[in-house]
Symmetry: C2
Subunit: 239 residues, 2 copies
DNA sequence: ATTTGTGAAGGGTTTCACAGCG
DNA sequence: CGCTGTGAAACCCTTCACAAAT
């Protein structure tokens, strides 16, 4: 029974690492489009996105041949092709569970509504918050979770509850047919194989920074310092 | 001029991929410690952290040989060793710039204060918010940024401003000597090579989920489904 | 002349499988 | 006998360098 190498990237043909960068390209292209720029070279787009130009070209090559040699990429067309590859041509209704500080921030986050997503429901366990309206959406009680998910045909759930509640909420979401979960609670969620979970953990990111910070102060006099450019100064349509 | 392969991982000996997972192990070990469990096997710890046991052992082997063959790892001791490797034995003061919804959430986030970090300052551009107290810390105005950073000797900055302000704030932080930045604003920040930037982008995470979501509904009847366990159900000291 | 698209080379990461130690 | 620690293999991702196209 030969197990396939990687479920996600094998099914789609687009490597995971590339998929993770496409949204960045999309955002940068958006800025270029607003500037009225008709085309970009791989060099220009790569600089604005903070990656190497070869990597960018390889990434885009996985979607097809959408550039013109000697010219570059048509901005509008590339936006469309990347959007299509990411599946953003359809609209996804999402539910946010847990309307504490973080859930509140997420509900007001502009990036959610803009590209392919729509916050269809806010849910909280505190009955006193039911009825409250945030970002134009009424908060409903956790008891109604199953009803709400089915009502809006939600397949993406955002968990912004305390850690203690996260697994339980996740189980209920999965039971209603949710197949993608974005988890902000500091717990490892257990889910069936058919469900995708992505985790955002503020404290983990800080700890990774701390590690590098520590190394900096430790090695301030070792071997002759060789500069390794990682992110290079770029000036894009800044905003 | 031979460029070294990778700045971070070469200086420390610990691969980046491993560093990114150590905080997860640390959290899971914390739960085990509270349960009073004296030792864990690589299998047990790996299951709770959602990774394979071989990967976990290889990760830990980069820190040294802290396990006992035939027994497992001493929970308390491993917590200490991972903390030390990550540089969490010292305390890092951090500043949060931008106290909108997200900054507010971050200020109240328990994970910040607990492991090695302390929120030393909250800064906002709105003069009307100056003086307001959140999570026991008084908000100060952006004009005072330089003073505050130096006063508290802050080397880690958290940017939670709108995208338009992020690069400017970042430049000012770097000018004051901040060497690590955690960026929540949806922009690619340009910094000198000596500064580390990590980015958390809510909308990007959602777009990655959308990609996988799309592939699911597309291939619901292709080849005979082969199960690829990704995250397996585990029951740890749940909380 | 310029810039894309891509084989091929080079690293890094994960997985395997087992030797070695308790 | 159980479990860790680790070479070796397999895999994935990145980088290089250039042929192909406009």
């Amino acid at each position: 029974m030969p197990v396939p190498r990687d479920a996600a990237s094998r099914r789609s043909g687009i490597p995971d690492a590339t998929v993770a960068r496409l949204p960045i390209y999309l955002r940068v292209l958006g800025a270029f489009a607003e500037s009225g720029l008709p085309t970009v070279s791989s060099e220009g787009l790569a600089a604005a996105a903070g990656v190497g130009s070869a990597k960018l070209r390889k990434d885009l090559s996985h979607l097809g041949s959408y550039g013109t040699r000697g010219v570059g990429y048509d901005v509008e067309y590339l936006v469309y092709q990347i959007s299509r590859a990411l599946g953003l041509t359809q609209h996804y209704p999402v539910a946010i569970i847990g309307v504490g500080n973080l859930g509140h921030a997420l509900a007001n986050y502009a990036g959610f509504g803009t590209r392919g997503f729509q916050i269809a429901a806010l849910v909280d366990a505190d009955p006193r918050r039911a009825g409250e309206v945030i970002a134009g959406i009424e908060i409903r009680h956790l008891d109604e979770l199953e009803t709400i998910i089915k009502e809006h045909e939600i397949s993406i759930g955002v968990i912004a509850t305390p850690a203690a509640a996260a697994q339980d909420v996740c189980d209920r979401l999965v039971a209603c047919g949710v197949t993608s979960v974005l988890n902000f609670a500091p717990t490892v969620l257990a889910v069936p194989e058919s469900v995708d979970v992505r985790k955002v953990d503020l404290s983990i990111e800080l700890q990774i920074l701390a590690f590098h910070e520590q190394r900096k102060s430790a090695g301030l006099h070792g071997e002759p310092g060789v500069a390794v450019p990682d992110v290079v100064r770029t000036s894009v349509a800044s905003a």
